[in-house]
Symmetry: C2
Subunit: 427 residues, 2 copies
């Protein structure tokens, strides 16, 4: 039963202890299905207990200064959710991080000495919260937080601040519009691990905005940025410009495991093209492949090179899976791909960054979530079909002691490495 | 400039010879860009010359009887667009076809002695034409034809019939909702080759419906078939049933070349889930992988097995890229995957087949196309970025003699093996 459709009459029947936020995180919690579902469903029924609502923007982050690059890369390559390096991750990760540091330091120095993602994220979060106070006063005041996975402000530090601020209701709001176990999944796992450590009594009641690939406001802003770029071409050429929507690629091992990201990115692209009236030919292409293992293509760089070879020199590159500029737009797209082609007809649509309409869209996404009473989307409750995580195996054995019924339901409803058991509704 | 937006004033300025249908197919045609665009644009301006409008349903087809299986497989494995076997295709194709025949003959005998795709296609085409006569009388009478790529009625025989019937206006209407160079591209290439041979003077004026992945009527019928299947589960379990949208997979070599199919299938899935209100968890999975080379996953069969292993035994399989039942639904899904799991909770949503609402949707798609005046979609005009076809290379050299401008534009606007030059608008 989906949380968003639990009849109001149910709430009145819930004993007070059932409402304890502790239920969200206690790993030893064994309540029957309906209880947890009901607990999840009351997220927006309980008025914020004075402390208002924390809106926590989750993202990978980036080094704000060149000196942060090595730490950033070390955390990045240590994360098997993002870059699966197998059983030797803990040895290979630091090695790769160390070897790549000088090159990446150079890239950040070239784009101005650091990533702007922190500046944009903090602006987006604080402005979205101001709008939320107006459009959804019942959960006000809304307090903006940014929690990065690999750079400052790290999730751990942000979590400490949330506790210090006495927050009792928080929304984990992914800033990856399309869900992947590698990105949003990794951030949620981190948050869950920390919550067990830093908030063992579950004083904070959490819910999750885990994806928003086709939110109309989000789609409209991207379409407008494409139109702004198309307007810079002579009118007679405009409809023949080829649009290349570029998203960060995934290893085929993750795609073939059943990760929902490629399909959600494609949904965003189709929605944007619909908004643009399908006036231009287009392709969805994939960037930033690393290492020797096969990744999802067509590759952005090869696509641009091949189109230019074939004589198509009017191309607009559109970042479709990031909410602000960072190394993949400012260096990879602008300098490596566009810069090196030296073709005036190859341009990039502006990133979302501080666009006020995008910030309005973020506020609307949060408002819809707070209104819905959902703990998270139905999709987050479904584990990837080909998950082979060892942790999941352990979790299954642990759950097996609670009987086949629970085992099967719980295991179906964990993220791909079984560390977000308590995030999900419907258990 | 998109054909659909050429101002009417342009038509009056076009000398009669520019309107000659010959232009659509003459390989030596060298008219400047605007002319061909204009020719393309008049498809629905010219009233059908007495003969009405042929609506030609394109599909891969299937053997209607077991005795047709070998010929069907021979044609299938000879088609490098569908199954790329490299330079040895002409030797490997017949070999594989011969070796697979007994197994596939058995499969067709098990599902009732043949594929129902011809019966359904002929019904869909004739019923859609009746509706078209009512909703778009200006191009009536609409005459239904079915042209299969690998089985009777073969495209060649249907083409002969179209000529024999004195048709001068025809719409090639793909029955693959999502475009792939392997499927719709292959059918269009076949049609173009035949037109050069069988209609060298281009007496038939053609236009193309090359994709319709998110047509609301199409999406609504799939959603309704899903709802009908969900209604067979107890109400308390209904929202926890996992929906598995299953489409025919593609080799990664085709995906990485930039084939638009995976993104268009994902767009269909997202549209159907939107229509269903995202009530159930779901995945897009891929079926029918053949041979040792890597194909796009997650695989349908592995997904079902793994979910059952994990305890999720309520699954609905939804064919998302076929318009009627055939071997991949009746044998692969129903018998091999669902049958062998022996789980009453694993079911399949009904295929589109003869659903009157689906046939209404087909008629509406054709009506919109006839009204638009488009030769084809803007997407058909864009070649896959990583195309490495030898025929394309030859075509480029040929076109090079016509000057850089033409060369580049034309090469950009051929399908991946450059055999549909005259199909496209905007040259």
């Amino acid at each position: 039963m989906s949380l968003s459709r639990i009849p109001a009459t149910l709430f009145r029947a819930i004993p007070h202890n059932r409402l304890s936020p502790k239920l969200f995180f206690s790993a030893s919690f064994q309540a029957p299905l309906r209880s947890l579902a009901t607990v999840g469903s009351i997220s927006n029924q309980t008025k914020p207990k004075g402390g208002g609502t924390a809106i926590v923007f989750l993202n990978m982050g980036g080094p704000s200064t060149v000196s942060e690059v090595h730490n950033f890369l070390s955390r990045l390559f240590a994360d098997g959710d993002l870059i699966p390096l197998g059983p030797f991750q803990k040895y290979l990760g630091p090695l790769i991080a160390r070897r790549r540091t000088p090159k990446i330091e150079h890239q950040y120095s070239v784009i101005g000495g650091g990533s702007p993602i922190r500046r944009w994220s903090e602006l987006q979060a604080s402005e979205a919260c101001k709008i939320l106070d107006t459009i959804h006063p019942s959960t006000a005041p809304h307090k903006p937080y940014v929690a990065f996975r690999y750079a400052d402000p790290l999730t751990e530090d942000t979590f400490a601040k949330i506790i210090e601020d006495g927050v009792t209701r928080a929304v984990a709001f992914t800033q990856y519009p399309q869900y992947s176990c590698s990105t949003t999944g990794s951030s949620l796992n981190e948050l869950w691990k920390l919550s067990k450590k830093m908030d063992p009594n579950g004083t904070i009641e959490w819910s999750v905005i885990d994806r928003w690939p086709t939110h109309p406001g989000f789609v409209d802003v991207i379409a407008r940025h494409v139109e702004d770029t198309l307007a810079t071409y002579p009118e007679e050429k405009r409809d023949d410009v080829v649009l290349l929507f570029s998203a960060h690629s995934l290893p085929m091992s993750v795609v073939n495991r059943g990760d929902p990201y490629p399909a959600e990115v494609a949904a965003t692209v189709h929605a944007v093209m619909g908004r643009l009236g399908f006036r231009n030919p287009y392709r969805l292409v994939w960037q930033s492949q690393v290492g020797p293992s096969p990744w999802l293509g067509a590759q952005t760089s090869n696509t641009v090179q091949n189109y230019v070879k074939k004589g198509q020199t009017d191309l607009v590159l559109i970042p479709i899976a990031f909410t602000s500029d960072h190394i993949e737009t400012l260096h990879e797209l602008d300098l490596e791909i566009i810069g090196e082609m030296k073709q005036p007809g190859i341009k990039r649509a502006e990133s979302l960054n501080g666009d006020p309409k995008f910030i309005e869209a973020l506020a609307d996404i949060a408002k819809q979530h707070l209104k819905s009473g959902d703990l998270c989307s139905r999709q987050l409750s479904l584990r990837c079909p080909m998950c082979v995580s060892a942790r999941c195996q352990e979790q299954k054995i642990f759950l097996d002691t609670k009987g086949e019924g629970v085992k099967s339901r719980v295991c179906m409803n964990l993220d791909h490495n079984c560390r977000t058991l308590m995030w999900r509704p419907g258990l």
